[in-house]
Subunit: 142 residues, 2 copies
DNA sequence: ACCGACTTCCCCACTTATCCCCACTTCCAC
DNA sequence: GTGGAAGTGGGGATAAGTGGGGAAGTCGGT
């Protein structure tokens, strides 16, 4: 269960510390890849397997499906935490998410997202304005 | 079953004592997050799980769903009581609810709410005046 | 094939924040 | 009045975040 929001810095070598609360859940490996909305997604190995299986099962006759599969799989990177609980964020993914030094790490229950801070702030501000109406719309779904 | 209203103080480290009557129900963990109307909500772990599972199950292809998930999960924090029956209220959540030193803790049957005292007072006063009419409007719902 | 340069990984060190434990005071119950 | 539990506060130990250095492996060039 990933919950909470954290601000960590990448060092000169592109390493990013995973919050201590999250480390146990990704201790046996993780996969970092492109997420939706220009963020990065980090999945525990087991969760990644089921996600990848479902994505692979989609109809390949749909061009959008193929595009999405390529986006996800091509840039995916499987890693393990180093001794200090960090991962290396590949330059390709850093560029995709616009991350340079600071990063906002967000728990999303089943997976982790990594954001460029300003981008996350923009999202957060949008919710301040529209949050109530979104909650209203989703209320009957939950 | 959470009932009653309590006034406790946060100490310099942002710790807040949970009323003794409530501790057994959250002994195996709790989640504190943003509530509606600028209060904080505290859920026992089990209750939170069922809510989180339903929210996670929604389709991530809907951008409103993603937005809502991000706000709910990012601002939530799972904790356990310390030896004195306290929790730490993270600074972001304190700011959201406007809580500084004093806090009003309210039992809401299934969960707990934490309020900035003045805000709670205003709400309470409004209910004293309009209670009957509110009840009237809800009459057919109950 | 050998040498050199670069990258990558691992380990160590420092600063800061967090957690845990202990102690005091107050309030309620007996 | 006395005992116990609950609320409050502070201090010390421990872990977390961050940065840098060194060894090993890889790649390219000579």
């Amino acid at each position: 269960m990933f919950l909470g929001r954290f601000s960590h810095n990448l060092d000169a070598k592109g390493r990013l510390a995973i919050p201590a609360k999250f480390r146990a859940a990704v201790a046996d490996g993780l996969v970092v890849t492109r997420g939706i909305d220009r963020c990065l997604s980090v999945y525990p190995l087991a969760a990644w397997q089921s996600f990848a299986d479902r994505l692979s099962a989609l109809s390949k006759t749909d061009s959008d499906v193929r595009l999405f599969q390529r986006m996800v799989f091509a840039e995916a990177m499987d890693e393990v935490l180093d001794g200090q609980g960090r991962i290396v964020v590949p330059p390709e993914l850093r560029r995709y998410a616009g991350i340079e030094r600071e990063a906002t790490i967000v728990g999303m229950n089943t997976h982790i997202e990594i954001w460029e801070p300003a981008r996350w702030e923009a999202l957060s501000a949008a919710v301040e304005d529209e949050g109530a109406s979104i909650a209203q719309r989703l209320a009957d779904l939950i």
